[in-house]
């Protein structure tokens, strides 16, 4: 039952919309105020549950875009036939309340180098390959995003930026059109800092005037051209639709990347 407090369990809690940010015509971020939020890790998500007046409930998972230490912010893409996303993107206002459950996940997560020393003393956390050997922290970060799959990866990029973490990081991010690129200005600004973050954008449905980025799908050839070579032994995080994630993951394995260093998260088409 909602709100049943059992020690150590994950329960539904009230969240209030503290702010909304329109990211693209179809995507909006909601900054949530959750009393007693114990913090989250970069890459985690939370579940949102909406309850209708007749008691009907619908729940969906949304990745957290904000870095650890900040209030949880979810970024939501509107799916026209969805039960939850049209409300979150089109109707939710500051002060609205709904239920959330989170933070969720301990596998698809990344820690900045500077934040990792406390964890390292106990041999690395669960699901962090190489954590106990120290290898984890030295490895570069390879992030591959398909459309709204950028959201959990953005928490990692923001963590890296806020922690002044020098881990060399590379993002390959595919969107349909330039207008659909989420966090575009922020990504441009972070990449221009010249502190070790590179970002490659590719568009599949248009080539805007003056566009100097790629206009191709993310496939083996594109990853071979842009991504770290397998000899760098990067930690790889891939997020997007199931088809995108599996194509990108198998292309990287074909290129010689160790499957054990590739973490994936698949988004569904239910919204």
């Amino acid at each position: 039952m909602a709100g049943t407090a059992v020690l150590g369990r994950l329960t539904w809690e009230a969240a209030e919309v503290a702010d909304v940010v329109d990211e693209t015509p179809r995507v909006r971020s909601l900054v949530l105020d959750v009393s007693g939020w114990a913090g989250h890790r970069a890459g985690q998500h939370l579940d949102v549950r909406l309850t209708a007046e007749d008691g009907y409930q619908a729940q969906r998972s949304y990745s957290i875009a904000s870095p650890p230490g900040e209030p949880p912010t979810i970024t939501v893409e509107r799916l026209e036939d969805g039960e939850v996303s049209p409300y979150l993107v089109g109707e939710a206002r500051t002060g609205d309340r709904f239920e959330i459950r989170g933070p969720i996940g301990g596998w698809f997560v990344w820690k900045a180098r500077s934040a990792s020393s406390a964890q390292r003393t106990r041999g690395g956390g669960p699901g962090e390959p190489g954590g106990s050997t120290g290898e984890y922290d030295a490895a570069p970060l390879l992030l591959v995003a398909g459309c709204s799959g950028i959201v959990p990866l953005m928490a990692m990029i923001r963590l890296r930026a806020s922690a002044v973490d020098a881990t060399p990081s590379l993002l390959v991010y595919v969107s349909r059109t330039l207008e659909d690129v989420i966090y575009r200005e922020e990504l441009d600004e972070l990449a221009q800092r010249g502190d070790g973050l590179e970002a490659f954008l590719t568009l599949t449905r248009e080539k805007p005037a003056g566009w100097s980025g790629y206009t191709r799908r993310v496939d083996r050839a594109l990853l071979d051209e842009t991504a770290w070579p397998p000899t760098q032994r990067p930690h790889v995080f891939i997020c997007g639709s199931t088809g995108f994630v599996e194509a990108a993951a198998s292309a990287l394995v074909d290129l010689g990347h160790d499957p054990a260093r590739i973490k994936t998260e698949r988004f569904g088409a239910t919204g």
Partner: protein, 86 residues
Amino acid sequence: MSEARLDGNAIGGLLHTVFGAEMTAAVGVCGTCGAAGAVAELHVYVRAPGVVVRCPKCESVLMRVVESPDRTWIDFSGLRTLEIRR
């Protein structure tokens, strides 16, 4: 085709609520083929009534979970072991 299939990350909240612990990094061993992997990597189908989890190697059913307002019904008989790391 593949869009109906997700992965174990999608049921992280459900499993955390059921087990009282983070479960996506837990390692499951398939009772049919013996493949071992993180729960996050398992194949998950959420469009059935309830949730069906299959082995990514041999597609055997590993778990079935059905939630209703007054109970949660769990069948984990397809799993040989589930190791929860602390």
